[in-house]
Amino acid sequence: MPHSTEDKLAINELVSRYNMAMDHLQAPDWAGTFTDDGELVIDGKTVAKGKAALTAMVETAAKGVYRGRHWVCNSIIDGDGSTARLRMYVLSFAINDGIVPRVMGEYDDTLVKQDGQWKFKTRSITFCAGKSGIVK
């Protein structure tokens, strides 16, 4: 069955929570947007997989100099039932000193609905300009 409008809104709200948790360096909340075996892939390489590794990644970022804001648009959600594919643009700004566009790219994600809640199974981002402020 194709996704309902409620499902698509829930996925877009998941994206908002992902961005807010990352930008405020709230590691458990951010990791909680993934499934337990969820994976973050950047430019084709696995950066973190599993709740512990995802949490540790943001905890490490919080100790460093990363201060950013994620801006997204062009959300396209496909799929049916309890699985979904999300594609969207992202533009991340560094806010350490003024407002500086740091990196731009596109997500191509796989999500699953577990116990009535959408989660990222794989967040896969490919950058087209700039460099990640979190992952070296």
Binding site: E6, S16, M20, R69, W71, V72, C73, F93, G98, I99
Partner: protein, 147 residues
């Protein structure tokens, strides 16, 4: 009862109206996105409150030479019945001289539904980078005293 999709869409459209009207200096239309005693708070302080106060604020902004466009994303709407909480990012881009993203922040607002229409009760913006034009964040644009 949790907010329906229709309620969330109406709140999203209210936000668009807020942005269009402030950016085009439509003082009365902007003031009417709030309830009568609605308030705009900037970094924890009241900027303007009450319909006349809000109209005066936009007219002062227009007179100052302030021109910008508001860009928003990461919307989260919670609530039930006739009250709602809206959180979202905002980036204001000055267009006085080129395209200058001069301030970035987050709203954490309270809204109420009055006579079938959603309105802001309190718009509360906290900036993470840059400074509001109301506090002199834009070179050449005088600060606008708080009400």
């Amino acid at each position: 009862m949790p907010l329906s999709l229709e309620e969330k869409q109406a709140i999203t459209e209210l936000t668009a109206t807020y942005n269009f009207t402030i950016d085009h200096h439509e003082a009365e239309a902007w003031a009417d996105t709030f309830v009568a005693d609605g308030e705009l708070r900037v970094d924890g302080k009241s900027q303007c409150k009450g319909r006349q106060g809000r109209i005066d604020f936009v007219n002062k902004a227009k007179a100052s030479g302030y021109k910008s466009r508001h860009w928003v994303c990461n919307m989260l709407i919670d609530g039930e019945g006739n009250t709602a909480r809206l959180r979202m990012y905002v980036m204001a881009v000055a267009i006085v001289n080129g395209i200058d993203p001069y301030v970035i922040g987050e709203y954490d607002d309270t809204l109420v539904k009055v006579n079938g229409a959603w309105k802001f009760h309190t718009r509360n913006v906290t900036f993470a980078a840059g400074k509001s034009f109301t506090d002199g964040g834009l070179q050449g644009i005088p600060a606008i005293p708080r009400q």
